[in-house]
Symmetry: C2
Subunit: 455 residues, 2 copies
């Protein structure tokens, strides 16, 4: 395939990149961050009377493109132009990540469902420009459709029930639809979504956008084309849906149990409002990053539960971060197989290849190592306690964006640690898993196997 790579490289830099798709993830993300940083440094991006340092612009750009933390309050610090830059960066980050991760997922998985494989020529283990175009078009179609529906639900509610002008309501609807589907958690309100905590229309619309974005493009694509034929769903889709449901229910139950009587979080609402808020807290931890409760006032146990959810994250090739649901589920299936004494891990009547298990293991353990190292750095650089630091680190690694409020107070070194962590947390798991899978040397074949995307 050295000949093939040479032929590709004669066809220009785009094609060369497509032939080494892992680079696409890192390069695309870097370009988005760089452009956003420069735009945010334009004086008109900042509200009058405020100034933007290079570090603040870089942090905000990395946070927006990865859909994670912000260091200043979006509505207060940035002008409308600045807000649009942030929104554009969120949108570009989401589109770029879903596209490149889908490309990699297609390369790695030979059995990802017939329809999605038809999008690209996966047999050659590389892509031409045409494949990339088709994928971008499909990703963009799904993205804009979902965002339009979410905005269409938010608009009349904000206009009619919250005393906004039609123009302002439209602007806020689009902004939050974009940040919801892209799991970015950026909001125009200083208290994020706490003011809407008990409004089921707003909360469920945003949760719906975040869930669809967090399932990942391969799942959405398959659901769109095969919604009524569950038997045709790929293992990847089944595992992602099962894992998403399990984690959401477990997170809801655990957060509700811990916070039920805490008047600073759930306790201020009625029973329905408490369940709605706990549901949203569970969804948002994986990994939308909106908050309808004040995490600085939550029980440390809630922070730890949320840490776990943030670390796991959302679906592969989704707008969410973390080690990814399939990674977690593969490890879970492997443990269940061990407990039964089986040599192979099975799920939904398929055997999970041991190569996938080893990739899941590598992604999860590298994630743990990264989180421990970043936590150590922040513990040394600040006076904050472990629960606060760990929460911020998990939020950055998982591209979540929840915060107990310490991000804004961190010294420059601490902010740099979080910037690196957001970058690596966003690009790392998929790049690691795919790089490992693509270079894998196959020696043995077993027959009835199917591999979910890892990372």
């Amino acid at each position: 395939s050295g000949r093939f790579a040479r032929r590709m490289s004669r066809r220009g830099p785009w094609a060369a990149l497509a032939a080494h798709p892992v680079r696409l993830v890192v390069l695309g993300f870097s370009v988005t961050v760089a452009v956003t940083t420069m735009l945010l440094l334009v004086p008109a991006a900042t509200e009058p009377g405020r100034t933007t340092s290079v570090l603040t612009a870089l942090f905000t750009a990395t946070g927006a493109a990865s859909g994670a933390l912000s260091v200043v309050d979006t509505g207060t610090h940035w002008s409308t132009f600045g807000e649009l830059v942030v929104m554009g960066s969120v949108q570009m980050g989401g589109l770029g990540f879903m596209t490149s991760a889908s490309l990699l997922g297609l390369l790695v998985s030979r059995r990802l469902g017939v329809r999605i494989r038809l999008l690209a020529a996966v047999e050659t283990q590389s892509f031409g420009l045409g494949d990339v175009r088709r994928l971008v078009r499909a990703v963009a179609l799904v993205t804009f459709t979902v965002e339009a529906v979410v905005a269409a639900v938010l608009f009349p509610r904000l206009w009619l029930s919250y005393d906004r002008s039609p123009a302002r309501a439209a602007y806020e609807s689009v902004f939050h639809a974009v940040t919801a589907f892209n799991n970015a958690g950026f909001s125009l309100y200083p208290d994020n979504l706490m003011g809407f905590a008990s409004d089921p229309v707003i909360i469920l619309a945003i949760a719906g956008g975040a869930i669809l974005g967090g399932l990942g493009f391969p799942v959405l694509f398959e659901l769109r084309h095969e919604l009524r034929r569950p038997r045709a769903w790929s293992l990847h889709t089944r595992v992602t849906l099962l894992g998403y449901a399990m984690l959401t229910v477990a997170g809801l139950a655990a957060i509700a149990a811990v916070e039920w009587r805490n008047s600073a979080t759930l306790g201020e609402h009625g029973v329905g409002g408490r369940l709605l808020t706990a549901f949203f807290a569970s969804v948002t931890a994986r990994t939308a990053g909106f908050n309808s409760i004040d995490y600085a006032q939550a029980d440390p146990a809630t922070l730890l539960i949320t840490d776990v959810l943030m670390f796991i994250g959302g679906g592969s090739a989704s707008t969410a971060g973390g080690i990814k649901i399939t990674t977690f589920m593969i490890l879970l299936f492997a443990i269940l197989a061990e407990a039964r004494g089986d040599e192979t891990a099975d799920a939904f009547g398929r055997q999970i290849p041991s190569a996938a298990l080893r990739q899941a293991l590598a992604v999860a353990l590298l994630g743990v190592a990264l989180v421990v190292a970043a936590t150590l750095c922040l513990l040394l650089a600040t006076e904050h306690t472990l629960d606060m630091v760990l929460f911020e680190v998990m939020s950055a690694f998982g591209a979540v964006g929840l915060s107990t409020g310490i991000t804004g107070e961190l010294p420059a070194f601490g902010q740099c640690v979080l910037i690196v962590l957001m970058f690596v947390g966003r690009t790392g798991p998929i790049a690691v898993a795919s790089a490992l899978a693509l270079r894998e040397r196959r020696k043995l074949y077993r027959l009835p196997e199917e591999r979910p995307i890892v990372g």
Copy 2:
């Protein structure tokens, strides 16, 4: 083998237990804890003027038998009789654990070195009474030899340099030699070993005992018989020694770097004393549990570093706890293999079987789940911060016994959580790994493989 089990059970309860060796670990540990609890409840075990609750006796018995935490100060609370009961429990716990874990290790690993396999008839996957007797004798010989040497080094130093009567010096020497080799961390001094922090004779003698105990019986046995033929060492011995050295050096470097100028911990000593203290802190975290620094005054980063070391623990079939060094090293080798794109993990010219990898994965992930669950319980039950709670949980799970001091202040529920955690942390990894390995159904054989003990 149903016929075989019936024939064994006709040969009495001992033989039946030996045929189901996983039960030996749990049963032996339970009996040791129960007897110790009853003896500690005898009024003569407590110093005059003090009283011992059932919970305190149970906690101390579990802590002593697993070599982990204590809830009262040993020298102040217990009379000399009580101290002897504690020492006996430590000794019984160590002997019992090393024996039963060695039995299981022999069953699981068919390639654990020729000499150690000659101790038992491993071909049948079960043991007769004679095998158990031979093993107990070999374990006891190693134990008492090392303890005698450590006590012989401590005795003249305590007698001549620390103003003890010969009888008192002998008593203290034996007590600390026993708790050192058994990695129990119980000391007769209210400040544990902080008073000896810069005395290289005392510190190195105790560290030596703790290291030998923490390597595990299979390694000690092989080193004793094949010390001059490193080429004959089994993969288990090589991996354990490499991992022990790596972790000790990394722990020393990290703790020294963080605490170098902290006058409440390392900073009070000269350069040599700082290195000695950092070395001891690194050794003791894996998992002796003595402290020569005050962890309540250490940097949170040091607590986190120590958390990681405590979770990993010592060698298999050793007196130490944790998920075990080989478990950690197997996962490390697997990740390195993934990074190279290899399908199999190799170490020292041998292939690590994928079954061992899956067991290591199960042990490590179940350990993580247990630690997270216990941390949640303690966060809910107390007002302590995450760094304090996590440190205590890791210390209990890893059978370490280091404490920031909160164990004594925990409510009854919190103490019960730690008791369960010490019990499961002690018996769990080996029981889980062995149960999994023993029921494994072998379908495929590849040729040049060798399996270290996991858990």
